[in-house]
Subunit: 520 residues, 2 copies
């Protein structure tokens, strides 16, 4: 493999137009292979690498990023894309090939609209800002982070302006994470969520507090056993361990290193088993999506997952839609007891199901229940809108956060660590990312309505651990579709109607009303 010539050595300007598509695909595949290398370096860094090697690994990642940037912005790549967009080429392409051209154009615009010095300044500031953020959060001292965050906000405002092409700046950032997503879609959606979830929470809080089974009272839960349990359930849902692996890291995540190498991580707490278990379900959902992508489109944009929102729909589907349902717990409970014999006789499937659906306002998003979770996202969304629009300054951020939290959830953070310093996202400039979490929740419930129609006796199947029909549905309707069209287009085609918040709100309200004896 030492001396394979570059696939485009000798390519001339007289390139036959009919060859333009193949030439473009070869370029994109090279970038995809480079992306696999980057994913491997990143996974190793998070999971295996001693922290003493951080600087050296940074050099390696930086070298790769530089090489990828050079290829992503190479003039001849832009020319190839333009050639493929010409009528005589584009008209002759099939739907998958067209998707590749459309996505290549989108990536090209994103890569080339930002000048190199802005990209470099942002990358450098990211490394610094994540460090400063971590220290500020540990000290729960927003003042240590505010200057750094202001600089990041300025950099992202510049990027948003350049990316927006005259349109709204925050919409340009939303589009980075979920193609086509705009505030004009999100504003009414979040308003609808707020209008239902805030009263639902109030109703739950006003109802007599149920006496819940507490897993914490029956520990410890040995970590090796938790891991075996998680592995068994992940495999039962359909994760193929021959094409991937499960590891441990500080922050659970999933990653596709290459088409047959999908990995995810979990973290364990020996005092209670549910957080690791639901983390495993969540990451299994992401990984099932990656394992279900269509291998015939390997290393092309068409073969990639379509968006963060659709990705999150797959994780939240298995974590919440299935994983926090009563039939699932009927199946799960005896398996859990087999792994943790101390649970035998101290509770039953119904009690465990209720414990897994405990609701109440909390400060930390990643610990939030299904009722309050999207309110946490709504808060961040409204703050981001104001920050990018310049209606809110960084200095005003903590108070705005705390006020909104108190207003929506009735609790007020006592320090910045449980307030606006809790998430890492802004430290790397990911403004516009949070709404994809809510999209994922809504898409999951929306898809489930259709799955219920298409898969007969679904609750019985779940209670019997027969997940294959569900996974097959997702494989056919979502996973294998990759990026053949827009995120919303894929959800609409799968479900037969445009996605809305209705299914999520209806099913959550029904479950919670039943659990808490509410009349809605």
């Amino acid at each position: 493999m030492m001396s394979v010539p570059h696939p485009f050595e000798g390519m001339t300007c007289s390139l036959n137009m009919a060859d333009a598509y193949d030439a473009l695909i070869a370029r994109l595949k090279e970038l995809s292979v480079m992306g696999e290398i980057g994913a491997t370096l990143a996974y190793d860094q998070e999971v295996f690498m001693p922290s003493s090697a951080t600087q050296a690994r940074g050099d390696a990642m930086g070298w790769l990023a530089k090489e990828m940037h050079a290829r992503s912005t190479d003039t001849s790549l832009g020319e190839l894309i333009s050639s493929c967009e010409s009528d005589d080429v584009f008209g002759g392409l099939d739907v998958d090939q067209k998707a590749n051209i459309i996505e290549a154009r989108r990536s090209w615009e994103r890569s080339t609209r930002l000048p190199a010095d802005l990209v470099e300044a942002t990358a450098k500031h990211q490394a610094l800002a994540q460090m400063v953020w971590a220290e500020a959060r540990a000290a729960s001292d927003f003042s240590r982070f505010s200057g750094t965050l202001s600089t990041m906000l300025d950099l992202k405002k510049q990027a948003a302006s350049l990316l927006s092409d005259g349109g709204d700046h925050y919409d340009a950032l939303l589009d980075l994470y979920e193609t086509g997503l705009t505030q004009s879609a999100l504003d009414p959606m979040f308003a609808e969520l707020e209008a239902t979830l805030v009263p639902l929470l109030a109703g739950i809080q006003a109802a007599p507090a149920p006496t819940l089974f507490r897993f914490e009272d029956h520990g410890p839960y040995p970590i090796a056993v938790q891991e075996a349990f998680g592995r068994e359930i992940s495999e039962a849902l359909g994760f193929d361990f021959k094409r991937g692996r499960m590891d441990v890291s500080t922050h659970p995540f999933s990653s596709g290193l290459s088409t047959n190498d999908i990995r995810f991580t979990t973290r364990y707490d020996s005092l209670e088993p549910l957080s690791a278990f639901y983390g495993t379900l969540h990451e299994t959902g992401h990984s099932l999506y990656e394992q279900g992508l269509d291998q015939s489109h390997i290393r092309t944009p068409r073969g990639e997952s379509v968006s963060l929102g659709v990705h999150e729909s797959q994780s939240r589907f298995w974590e919440n839609t299935i994983g926090r349902s009563r039939p699932f717990w009927e199946w799960l409970w005896p398996r859990m007891v087999k792994h943790f014999p101390q649970l035998d006789g101290v509770a039953d499937a119904e009690q465990a199901f209720r414990a897994a659906n405990c609701v109440g306002p909390t400060f930390i998003r990643v610990e939030a229940d299904e009722v309050t979770y999207n309110l946490h996202i709504l808060l961040r969304y409204r703050i981001e809108q104001r920050l990018i629009a310049g209606d809110l300054s960084v200095d005003e951020l903590p108070k705005a956060w705390d006020d909104m939290m108190e207003n929506m959830l009735g609790i007020r953070p006592t320090n910045a660590a449980e307030g606006c310093l809790q998430d890492i996202h802004w430290s790397f400039g990911a403004f516009g990312y949070f709404p994809t979490y809510t999209l994922g929740n809504l898409y999951a419930a929306h898809l489930f309505t259709t799955i219920r129609q298409d898969v007969s006796e679904l609750d019985d199947k779940v209670a019997a651990g027969e997940f294959a029909p569900i996974l097959t549905w997702l494989r056919n309707k979502i996973h294998s579709k990759g990026s053949v069209t827009t995120p919303e287009g894929i959800i609409e085609a799968a479900s037969g109607r445009p996605p809305t918040a209705k299914a999520f709100l209806d099913s959550l309200s029904a479950k919670m009303s039943k659990l808490h004896g509410l009349t809605s």
Copy 2:
């Protein structure tokens, strides 16, 4: 890090000669960073990656190899090296800088003397040949491998001819693995080994067979406990787990992913603990060398390990010179009993020491004892000489192997798997590699003679687990020297005299004579 310009963009022909050195070093550092990426991909592949991802990883490694080859053979790199070799530059350099130029020239010659099509053909054939070899070995059927091996031999003969620059072809291959190594040095050395080791083995076999303690009779040895034991001992010898890690793989190896990320692997057999333990000592030795390289020369040739032979001297030093000594077992035994309580009272340090020094002719090199090991290498060395010279055909190889084995060790393989198919090396064309194993054994013993002089009460220190003075000596005299001069030059400077086989033969004969009551 996204858009750092290539360090040599805009470099012109009017480059100031005084800047040539810095420009060259920047090029070499880029290649080193790329090497770190390759090492990370390779380590992940061996240790963590699901085998289903082999093809995708091959693409990634191939892409990286292609990029490295392009940079390694770039004409402007050759011009930079030439500039640095000019009197007005080279004369102004210090000894470390000169070493970098010398090594850069050597790498340049190696990279550019072989035409791209030969390199590519060899790389492709390597991938095939390793697969064919594995199948042939599993079936113990040499005929399935002979054609593939013939092709590999032809490719390596072509390479040897091109690399030899008119000199001896096998010498050119030896030089690839150990700079400056020739048959004129190896022939008398191996003759001396043969003249002493064959009678030594005969004497041991003629003496009354000792009744040895058998670890196998007191198992099992849980793998988690073996791992904890190995980790404790590795750390006691000086391996810094904050700058590295220990894993499991089918074939134990060590690898430097970057200066503060040195990793090694072991494999475990729950029925007996010594093979994993000595594997751990061996790889710890390699890793201590890597951890001891001078960080001020990071990513330059001067900062790298100097050769395979010197590397092997470090692994065999801890495995055999120290690890199979009586004082070491005095220290080790109570620690071993602590981890494996079943050993308490069934043996003592002396019996364990004797068990670890069991001698006898065996077919498999990697299982051989200290007396027979170098005879296994001698056999391979003489066969390689004849294969490369054309005095032995591939078809004649099995019989030649078996005859020589019977002649030297008195045992004749009953099948090819325990004969000439046992090692992977020839399947990837590594003719000339085996002798570095013997060099390592000799260097280890040779250095130990000087360490004994320089470190007072050495046996007492080893018996007390005080390894720091020994490691410090190796750090100062070997590790930190990197590639400042030739392999032999480094051994000679460290020991004050040229390396010979004497120390190895004297110390081994003395130990074995004592153990077996021989009079020599």
